[in-house]
């Protein structure tokens, strides 16, 4: 094995492979920065480039794109409240308030460190624990998955909002919005009102960008219109030097959060189908729940950014765990990667270790190298992009609106998405004004279809007999945890009402 690893290292540490990894990371980073260009689309576009490359170079290049995308998406999320990828929504929650406080640079630095650490730890997990983790993952059937999702949704809801009823309303609005689509059993349109554009569901990014980013622009315009508009010359440099730097103390304080969230990303990310969309939400909720001052989340807590970024980036290598261990892709972009393997005549899965162990080790080494290149590239990129924000608001707001429109358009449904985004901008504006939780809304919207599919699968497979739960102990544990979080939610809420303490939602 030692010789194989040395041989692999020898293959990776060539100018061609390193150059392609860097190139891939760079493209991924740019794609991540641009909202609407998803990682999956980018990989699909780039696969033809890899036809003529050697297998190792081509695959390392595509993994680079995948890794770079997640790191880049934090940039717009923190600086202008525009999630570059749907799951970066969580990064905006505390990242953007930090920017507003003049701590944008600090948030970016922490986001980069958290994402590189999450990525690195998950890569190590992929190398060391792929087989046992995948064995657990494949044992998670629809029944277990339903229980996990019910727990995740209730837990996130319990932690996210401050008002019980407002949280519920927002969550159910999200679920309602997830309902229009072709029904998964009958194949017939459901609540689509004749719009063929939403046969596959309401476009995700149009809703996310509308409610989060564009509505924020409305809030700013509104503020200016009411007369408290101040011409801010330099929002980034408004912060003192201390606001821009990330101190050792702050990093050490965030370290447990990064480690815990990376574990969440590895665990959730390695379950095929659950994938990346859940892990940042779950890690964020967990961090908030453990914190002595949960109410300060959503107003600019560094831990919030660290949790979201570490979990988000950990789920990229974690998504490769089921692919390498059992040949099953964990997400859309992993499915594309698998296609690239097959083009080179390689079959991802346990047989690959037997047939071409050197290649597998080389890919792993390449991934670790990519983590470090990403760190350097991220540092340079931040300094460049951060200057964007030093532009005055009269110029910045139109640019952001433009980026929002492009992002929604690129997602796939063309102008339909753009109009939809405009509608949701007003929706988000009123949610902000009336203090409804974005987190529960988006969790309902994003996880709703996933929960529906696994629930309906579970119902058919168990013949809808409650007694069959006895055969699924793991599911029972998660259902019990779900009950516990609902109980906690109502208890905390009751306490709040008694003490009369209010608060603003996250």
């Amino acid at each position: 094995m030692y010789q194989q690893v040395m041989q692999a290292a020898d293959n990776v540490l060539t100018l061609q492979v390193i150059a392609y990894i860097t190139f891939g990371l760079f493209i991924g980073y740019i794609v991540g920065v641009l909202p609407g260009m998803s990682r999956a689309t980018a990989i699909a576009l780039l696969i033809p480039i890899t036809y003529k490359l050697p297998a190792l170079t081509g695959i390392s290049f595509l993994i680079g794109v995948s890794k770079g995308g997640n790191t880049g998406s934090a940039l717009t999320a923190i600086l202008i409240n525009v999630p570059g990828e749907p799951q970066s929504v969580v990064t905006t929650l505390d990242g953007y308030p930090l920017t507003q406080q003049g701590k944008g640079q600090k948030a970016l630095k922490l986001a980069l460190i958290a994402s590189v650490m999450g990525d690195f730890l998950a890569t190590v997990a992929l190398i060391m624990l792929a087989q046992p983790l995948a064995a657990i993952a494949v044992g998670i059937g629809p029944v277990e998955l339903t229980a996990v999702l019910i727990f995740a949704i209730t837990f996130i809801a319990a932690v996210s909002g401050n008002s019980f009823y407002k949280g519920l309303i927002a969550g159910f609005l999200g679920l309602l919005l997830a309902a229009p689509r072709l029904d998964m059993e009958t194949g017939q349109p459901r609540l689509t009102f004749g719009f063929a554009d939403i046969y596959d569901g309401v476009p995700l990014l149009a809703v996310a960008i509308g409610t989060l980013a564009l509505s924020e622009m409305l809030v700013q315009i509104d503020r200016g219109w009411r007369g408290n508009y101040q011409h801010k010359v330099d929002r980034l440099e408004m912060g003192t030097a201390q606001d821009q730097k990330l101190s050792w103390l702050e990093f050490i304080k965030c370290l447990p959060t990064i480690l815990r969230s990376s574990a969440v990303g590895i665990g959730v990310g390695s379950v095929p189908g659950l994938g990346a969309s859940l892990s940042p939400f779950l890690a964020y909720a967990w961090t908030k729940n453990r914190d002595p001052d949960p109410d300060s989340f959503g107003k600019g807590r560094l831990e919030g950014v660290a949790a979201a970024e570490a979990a988000d980036n950990a789920s990229v290598p974690a998504g490769l765990i089921p692919m390498f261990a059992i040949g099953l892709p964990g997400s859309a972009s992993t499915a594309l990667l698998m296609g690239a393997f097959m083009l080179h005549g390689l079959t991802p899965g346990p047989s690959l270790f037997r047939e071409d162990a050197v290649l597998v080790y080389a890919i792993f080494i390449g991934m670790i190298v990519a983590s470090f290149i990403m760190l350097v590239m991220g540092m340079v990129g931040q300094n460049l992009f951060a200057r964007l924000i030093t532009v005055s608001e009269t110029i910045l707001v139109p640019i952001i609106v433009f980026i929002c429109v492009i992002g929604a358009y690129l997602e796939g449904s063309g102008m339909f998405s753009v109009y939809l985004m405009l509608v949701f901008a007003f929706f988000g504006y009123f949610m902000k004004k009336f203090d409804f939780s974005f987190v529960t809304f988006l969790v309902g919207f994003i996880l709703g279809p996933m929960a529906e599919l696994s629930l309906r699968q579970a119902m058919i497979i168990t013949d809808a007999k409650v007694s069959s739960l006895a055969n699924h102990p793991v599911a029972c544990v998660f259902l019990a945890l779900a009950v516990l979080s609902v109980w906690r939610l109502s208890a905390v809420n009751l306490l709040r009402q008694r003490t009369g303490a209010g608060g603003t939602g996250a």
């Binding site: 017939q188 046969y199 189908g273 059992i326 099953l328 497979i461």
Partner: protein, 315 residues
């Protein structure tokens, strides 16, 4: 102007009008061509079309760009093509079921006759597979086991077509076959790997798992066996006169000049024959076929007829 000269004039104009088409077609293409894929990135259609775009860019001398516009079983992209200018610069790529099955079950605003079909460039091959811990060697075993144990059969379903096909089988065999909805080939493979259902089906997604022994192939969902596994029975061999048939189809807007359609068909044909594209087709377990513009409509008519009957049978 004399009468004769005006006749001359008219005939010159008429001649010019007549020759203008072929001349324009000879120059075609003078700007980039867009291929709109009716499905998302990562599927078989996407892989093959992106691969063939490269040799086509070389042979046509203009960039051939590929865009994904998924939704409504390819219907969103088809609608876009229907409304484009009939000049051959906007091309649909997707499954032939978009034209021959979806209009039967969804209220689509298009029919297969609303397009100029450039050709069918390969055939999807769906395999039926089970978990190796189950004793079934073929589909007949699955049915026999369910009958002996007096239980229903559950399978990983993806589309309405597979539901109709297995409803037909259930009626013929006198067993209950219940579809469990899953998403795409990966969802089906996952459900069977986790041993949640009796069997599932997919296109090329099953390939690696058959080779590694994690799944066992027990049939083909098409009427005839798959090209790569001729010894595995198709639907007809089991006595079930149904089966899925889905080609990778290339179509453009109705009214596109015939010469342009011919030129595009030739470019697709040459592109498909390159070793690189052949490799992609093989890696996706698809069958290499080519049906040109002259014969495509007949194939579609036959498919439509077959699926219309299948649906009528259920009622």
């Amino acid at each position: 102007m004399t009468r004769r000269s005006s006749i001359k004039m008219v005939s010159v104009i008429a001649l010019a009008a007549l020759t203008a088409g072929p001349v324009a077609a000879q120059q075609f293409p003078t700007k980039p061509i867009n291929i709109v894929i009716g499905f998302g990135a990562g599927g078989g259609t996407d892989a093959v079309v992106r691969a063939v775009a490269e040799p086509m860019t070389k042979s046509l001398g203009q960039p051939v760009l590929v865009i994904n516009k998924p939704g409504a079983g390819g219907g969103i992209a088809a609608m876009q093509i229907k409304g484009s200018d009939p000049d051959g610069y906007t091309i649909y790529a997707g499954g032939s079921l978009t034209f021959t099955f979806e209009p039967l079950v969804l209220q689509t605003q298009y029919k297969h006759t609303d397009f100029e079909h450039i050709g069918l460039i390969s055939l999807f091959q769906d395999g039926l597979f089970t978990h190796p811990s189950r004793p079934y060697k073929n589909m007949k075993d699955v049915i026999a086991a369910a009958k002996a144990e007096k239980r229903s059969i559950k399978y990983a379903s993806q589309f309405q077509l597979d539901r109709l096909i297995f409803q037909h089988v259930a009626k013929m065999e006198g067993v209950e076959i219940i579809p469990v909805p899953t998403q795409g080939g990966n969802g089906a493979v996952q459900a069977v790997l986790g041993n949640q259902v009796d069997f599932g089906f997919s296109g090329g997604t099953f390939g690696p798992h058959i080779e590694s022994g994690a799944l066992r192939l027990i049939g083909a969902m098409s009427a005839e066996p798959m090209e790569r596994f001729p010894e595995i029975a198709g639907m007809h061999a089991n006595g079930w006169m149904v089966g899925s048939e889905n080609y990778l189809i290339i179509s453009t807007t109705k009214g596109t000049p015939k010469a342009v359609v011919e030129k595009l068909a030739a470019a697709f044909k040459a592109g498909m024959e390159t070793a690189m594209v052949q490799g992609v087709v093989k890696s996706r377990y698809m069958k290499d076929v080519f049906v040109g513009p002259a014969d495509t409509m007949a194939v579609l008519d036959k498919q439509l007829d077959k699926y219309t009957k299948l649906i009528a049978d259920q009622k």
